[in-house]
Subunit: 137 residues, 2 copies
DNA sequence: CAGGATCCGATCGGATACTG
DNA sequence: CAGTATCCGATCGGATCCTG
């Protein structure tokens, strides 16, 4: 029998999984999470639960297909909860789970970083694009 | 004509850019950054500069095409610096820029989160996949 | 060693049409 | 309202061959 607590096991997690390894399950999870729709959907639910139609309006330009697909993936991974309210018309609300909230703290930073540093990145891109082909530094 | 300084514009950045808007430049940047190879390449350079071949070994399973493509994108965005050492054979070293390091603090968390929470996510996936089709809650 | 170039199957993702 | 289903062009990304 094991005497380790869940907390102890959580602290050891770092040594067991390594996303640098192509066969490690964490690599696949990282691939799933590294998606702009995942980031936007999670951050959209940061402050309050939202309905499907509200999410679609908040995340401008997302197609119905991608929004549904993203929300299903998030639900399957235990990151958001889907609640169906039987009424006329039907109402479906999405909210963050505790697990999702822990990930939210990370992806929200990614979104903010993009918004805060886009100008500096663009400047770098312009410099890069303006240099002669095969530029010998 | 505008009288705002670059610094003033930078302080207003949060209110000027919004990744929720499909036409906002930060949306495209977020899409670029939301990539598993970007995350792995950046984190691989966290502690020290690495050569191309070293990166390829560290990031298991990455193809030559994707690694080159990823490094070019990171270089273009001003996140990593590429240094060519003329010798026989030639040596190319990649290192983090200050801008890249600020992003690293975020993406490293994403990688760690995947490694630390993969078990909980898998448990959620199993629960989700085991429920009957069209499960009426 | 550090790529560039090409081929090509697999997946992504938008548009459209339909449903309870 | 909240999806499902399908078509299909665009892009992704691995494999392979070639180069300074």
């Amino acid at each position: 029998m094991s005497t380790t607590t869940a907390e102890q096991r959580r602290r050891m997690a770092k040594s067991e999984y390594d996303a640098y390894l192509s066969t490690c399950p964490s690599r696949q999870l990282l691939a799933t999470l590294s998606d702009k729709w995942i980031v936007l959907a999670l951050t959209a639910l940061e402050t309050q639960p939202l309905r499907y139609s509200e999410l679609r309006r908040k995340i401008a330009g997302v197609s119905q297909k991608m929004l549904t697909q993203t929300l299903r993936a998030l639900e399957r991974d235990g990151l958001v909860e889907r609640s169906v309210k039987i009424s006329v018309p039907i109402s479906v609300t999405y909210s963050m789970t505790p697990l999702g909230h822990s990930l939210l703290r990370v992806v929200a930073q990614l979104k903010s970083w993009a918004e805060d540093n886009i100008e500096e990145v663009r400047a770098a891109q312009n410099t890069f694009d303006a240099r002669p082909p095969q530029g010998k530094l």
